[in-house]
Symmetry: C2
Subunit: 417 residues, 2 copies
C-alpha cells in the first residue's frame, strides 16, 4: 500500500504536461502553455519598507483561529481553535496557536509585572520581569493541550473539522527559567509531600495545585515562544509551562507561586477539570495528557483535491508521558493498519508529525490513526474509552478519530462501531 | 566566573522586596507594596473574537525588521534585518525573519504557481503547487544566512547593533519535498559532473548553479515554514532550501530547475557573491557559510538594564558544515575564554543558542564569542580573516564580533587589535 516509487505520478498522467492537471490546478490555473511572461516576472514587487513585521499573504487569509459560538456563553470565557488542518511540520506559529480564556486576555506591561513566591519558603519574594531575566534560561519545545480538547466527541461525532475536534493544541519552542530555580532561590521547603499553588494576574486567577515532584522536574517560567515574546492571549509577559500536563495548569500572566503542605482543591481542580464517571464519582488529579493522534489532512476542512493516485496522508501525534514511538494508520476503520512514517520526532512531550504516502484508488475510506508512546501505551478507540469512563465526561478524550472520505475526496467526522 | 548558586541575587539585594529593584523595574514599576487590586485583576480582558490571527502585543512594537536606508539605492533591492538582539531560543518567527530582495517581493497565488524541470531529463515536466503536495514531504530546521551578513564590518566597526551586523540570518522549521525526489521523478541525468540551474519567478530571476552532489544531498523544495505557508517576502508559495549554503541560492518563487552539464556562471555567481581578494582575483563557488557566532545580549540595542551581579549573556552560533560543538565567550577582548552553555543544540545546519551565566562586577567588558563546529573549524578573528582575504571583500565575513560594554551597561560595536 505504501508507495515505493513516485514515477506513477507521471505515468498516472496527473501532470499538466500530460494535459491532466490536478483538480485544483486544472480548475484555477492559467493555461499551462504560457507564451507571454507574467506580470510578476516583468514588474518589481514590494520593497522591504512594506513589511517591518511580516504578516501572512492575503491568499492564506483562511488559515486562522476560529471559535464555535454555541460552545460557550460568551467570548471572554471561550476557545479559539488552532487551524491544524492547514498547518504542517511540528511548530505552531503563535498567531495560529489556540487560545482559551476564563476571563479574557489581559494587557500587562513588563514594567508592571510582578511574581510573588511565598508560603513555606525562607525568603518570601517578589520578582520583577527583569529579575527573571537574570536567572539561567532553558529552551524546550513542548505541546500544550487543553484537557477539553476533543471533549465534544464523547457524545458522538459532533464537530466537522480537525480544527474543532483536535485544535485545542499547540507546539512551541519556549525560553524560560526552570520553576525549581526560583524555588531554590527563595529557600522553599521542597519535601515531596508539599505542593505549589500557582495563580494568574487575570480576574479568573485560574489557581491550580501542582505536586512538588512535578514542580521540581520540568516546569518552566516562560517568557518567549518561538523566539519572540508571548502573545497577549498566551499570557504575556510570563506564563507557566507544565510539560505534558493539561493546558489549564499552564497558568497565564503568572502572578503568584505559594509553597503549601496540601492541595488547595480549587474550583479549577474540583468542579472543573475532573472526569465524572458513569456512577457519578469524579476522577481527579488527571493531569497527564495521554497518547493521542489525529489525521490533519485529508480531513473535513482539507479534502482530497486531486483525484486518484499519489496521496499524502499527514497527521500529528503526542504524549504527555514522553516520546511517540509509533503511529499506525488505517484506511478501513481499524480493520487493517499500516505503520506511518514519523517524519520529525519532536522532543519529549512535543508534537510528532507522521505521514503515510499511499496510492488512492478513488474508493471510500475510513481514515484512522493510532499513537503509541515510549511507555507502550496504545491510543484507545472511542468505545474502549466509553467502557472505562462512561459518557458523562468532558475532559481527557484521547480516543482514535475517524474521518469518512467519499469517492470525491470529501471527508466527514463519523463514528465506527 | 560562572555562577554556581543564584542565592547572591537575593543577597545582592537586587529584589524589590529588598527595596532595591532592578533599574527598569524601579524606573517604571508601580509601588512594590500593592494595596489595591490592579484593573487587570478586576476587569475581564479581550474575548477570543478579538484575535483570529494573533499579533504581537503593542508593547513589543519595537521588535521588528529594520533596514539601513544608506546601504542600498532603493528598497526593492534591499535588506530587512532580523531583530536578533530581542529574540531568544533558536526559532525565528516568520514575521521577524530577515528579507532580501533583488526586485521586490511578488504576490504569486498557489493556483498560478508552476515549476518547470527541464534540461538533461527523460521527461521535461511542469508541476503545479498541488502536484508538489503529492510527493513525500520532510520536515527540517535550517538556518538561512545571506552571504553579505556582517559584510559592512570588513571595513571596520560600522553598524551599531547585532540586528544590523548579524541580522541577515533566520532559522525556521521547513516542510517540503526533497529536490532529489523531483530529479528522480523526471528521470534526470544525475551524474555528479552535472549541475542544476535554479531560478525564481520574480523579475530578477536570481539564477544560481548548484552542483549535482548538493542537489541530491539535502536541498528541499519548501512550502511551509514554522508550520504555516511561507511569507510573501520569503518566496510564497515555494522556495528552494539549500541547507548551510549562502542565502542567495535559496531561490524564492522557484520557477525552473534545469539539469545542465556545466555551471551557468550567472551574474549572481560571478560579478556578485564572489570574494575579491587583495590581488584583485576573485574566490568563487564559496557556497558554504563557515562557523560563526554573535552575542545577542548584551549588545548595543540590548544594554544591561540592571546593576551589578547576576548577568545572563545570550548568543547564537551556527555552521554550514553541520553541528556546533562548542562556543567560547571572552569578557576581555579574547585574552581569556570561558566555555559557554549550549542550551538547545539545533539540528545540523541550524542555529544553536548559547548562554554564559556570570556575575558582573560593573567593570568595562570587551565581549566576544568564538564558535567551533563538528569539523573542529574555529571561528577566526577579524585580523586573521583580513590576512587571508584582504579588505576588498563584501561577502563571507564570519569573524569574531566584539562589543564594548561600559560601566553603565551600554554596549558598542568596536574592533580590538
Amino acid at each position: 500500500m505504501i508507495n515505493t516509487t513516485r514515477r506513477n505520478l507521471l505515468r498516472g498522467g496527473a501532470l499538466i504536461t500530460a494535459g491532466l492537471a490536478t483538480g485544483r490546478a486544472m480548475a484555477n490555473g492559467p493555461d499551462p502553455l504560457i507564451t507571454e511572461p507574467q506580470d510578476w516576472a516583468i514588474y518589481t514587487g514590494d520593497g522591504v519598507d512594506a513589511t517591518p513585521y511580516g504578516m501572512p499573504i492575503e491568499y492564506e487569509g483562511g488559515v486562522i483561529r476560529r471559535n464555535v459560538p454555541w460552545l460557550t456563553a460568551d467570548t471572554i470565557s471561550s476557545i479559539n481553535f488552532t487551524p491544524i488542518h492547514a498547518l504542517d511540520g511540528t511548530i505552531t506559529p503563535q498567531g495560529c496557536a489556540f487560545e482559551r480564556h476564563h476571563s479574557g486576555a489581559i494587557a500587562l506591561r513588563k514594567e508592571d509585572y510582578r511574581l510573588m513566591v511565598n508560603g513555606l519558603v525562607e525568603t518570601p519574594s517578589v520578582f520583577s520581569y527583569f529579575d527573571l531575566e537574570r536567572f539561567p534560561r532553558e529552551t524546550h519545545v513542548y505541546f500544550c493541550e487543553c484537557a477539553a480538547n476533543t471533549g465534544m466527541e464523547w457524545a458522538g461525532a459532533q464537530l466537522n473539522g480537525a480544527q474543532f475536534t483536535h485544535g485545542m493544541i499547540h507546539n512551541m519552542e519556549y525560553v524560560g527559567v526552570p520553576l525549581r530555580t526560583l524555588l531554590f532561590e527563595v529557600g522553599a521547603d521542597i519535601s515531596l509531600k508539599n505542593w505549589v499553588y500557582v495563580e494568574g494576574a487575570d480576574a479568573s486567577s485560574n489557581g491550580r495545585s501542582i505536586p512538588m515532584e512535578k514542580a521540581l522536574q520540568d516546569c518552566l517560567i516562560a517568557f518567549k515562544a518561538n523566539g519572540e515574546g508571548l502573545r497577549m492571549e498566551h499570557g504575556y509577559p510570563v506564563r507557566l509551562v507544565v510539560p505534558g500536563w493539561e493546558g489549564n495548569m499552564w497558568v497565564k500572566w503568572l502572578r503568584r507561586i505559594e509553597v503549601i503542605d496540601r492541595a488547595v482543591e480549587s474550583r479549577e481542580e474540583t468542579s472543573k477539570y475532573t472526569d465524572v464517571l458513569e456512577d457519578g464519582t469524579a476522577r481527579k488529579w488527571t493531569w497527564v495528557m495521554d497518547a493521542k493522534s489525529v489525521i490533519t489532512s485529508p480531513s473535513p476542512q482539507s479534502p482530497i483535491s486531486h483525484g486518484t493516485g499519489s496521496l499524502v496522508i499527514s497527521g500529528l501525534a503526542w504524549s504527555g508521558h514522553g516520546k511517540i514511538t509509533r503511529v499506525d494508520v488505517s484506511t478501513d476503520g481499524g480493520k487493517n493498519w499500516t505503520i506511518a512514517r514519523l517524519d520529525k520526532q519532536g522532543d519529549r512531550k512535543a508534537l510528532t508529525r507522521f505521514y503515510l504516502d499511499m496510492e488512492w484508488d478513488g474508493g471510500e475510506m475510513l481514515l484512522q490513526s493510532r499513537a503509541i508512546d515510549e511507555t507502550n501505551y496504545v491510543q484507545p478507540t472511542k468505545s474502549q474509552l466509553r467502557q472505562l469512563r462512561g459518557e458523562n465526561s468532558i475532559y481527557h478524550n484521547n480516543c482514535i478519530q475517524t474521518w469518512y472520505v467519499n469517492e470525491q475526496g470529501q471527508a466527514e467526522n463519523v463514528e465506527v462501531s
